[in-house]
Symmetry: C2
Subunit: 178 residues, 2 copies
């Protein structure tokens, strides 16, 4: 299982960075499969340093309080091993599907609202993925982005095609039950 510390290692495998930069890298470049908050970032950085997977080189950002981290050979070995041990699992937790699943009792407006909200979010995610520097990525990196795009586009298309239909269906059903 990829933990936050492994993802951080991955972020630092590209180039050295300070904590803030690591966080931004993960929350933009890796946004299609991970995210981090400060609360897990800094403890994980300390842990990685203690293990020898990364080193801390002196602050490199002028007077701003900044620690710069770089991956070590040991860190690279650890990352490679993680990849070799990794399964191909994906864990999805969808508030959207849960809410829709139970939305019948709350009326068709709720279902429609949820579908529209999800469509909007998918749109934004697609834009963000398209804004990534696809040209300068490695083959495998680009592959993950294109996979994420394909999946999101399919979801969006489904919502656009079927969203209206279900609203009508619920509406008719509730009218018939009166």
């Amino acid at each position: 299982m990829f933990e936050i510390s492994d993802i951080i290692l991955g972020a630092l495998s590209k180039s050295p960075a300070n904590g803030y930069q690591v966080r931004r890298r993960i929350n933009s470049d890796f946004a299609h499969f991970q995210s981090v908050s400060t609360g897990s970032l800094y403890p994980a950085l300390s842990k990685l340093k203690a293990r020898g997977a990364i080193t801390e080189t002196g602050s490199a950002n002028g007077s701003l309080d900044s620690r710069t981290f770089a991956i070590t050979d040991l860190g690279r070995t650890m990352l490679r091993q993680k990849v070799q041990e990794a399964g191909a699992g994906e864990r999805l937790r969808s508030d959207f599907l849960a809410a829709v699943y139970f939305s019948e009792s709350a009326g068709p407006e709720e279902t429609v609202r949820l579908i529209e909200e999800r469509a909007g979010a998918l749109n934004q995610e697609i834009r963000a993925l398209l804004a990534l520097p696809l040209q300068s990525m490695t083959n495998t990196e680009r592959f993950t982005v294109r996979y994420a795009l394909a999946v999101r586009r399919a979801g969006l298309e489904f919502l656009r095609h079927e969203g209206r239909a279900i609203a009508t269906a619920i509406d008719i059903e509730s009218r018939n039950n009166r």
Copy 2:
């Protein structure tokens, strides 16, 4: 945010059940958006009971040690409210994409292995979704299953079409670098 206890409430909104049955309902009928382990199930059931969202009727399973739970009116109100408050978020944590993203250093075999493993898992998930009793579902329930199917099929198709291509690309690249 839908927590486990809300999902349990949703499961019990269909019909009364004991803990074991609730768990199976979630891990089969709701598998496309949630899962539960025993460690969270039983404490959550107790919490719901204490709050008055569910009641415990005497054991209804012969001599087997079994507690049967049923949703109350309060429970139904709570569930409806959850739906109304719910956002349309989806949180994905993909070991698959993480591993592929960082797999370049580990060689093309790893990338291919991951893609094949993911394809197999998607296939299984699709089968499981198709095995659900679509005919006897409500409109919104069926909608979630079809959405999940659309997304998984798109993922599988992408992997089938592009999986080979990327293996070749990495291979060529690594040969060129020699």
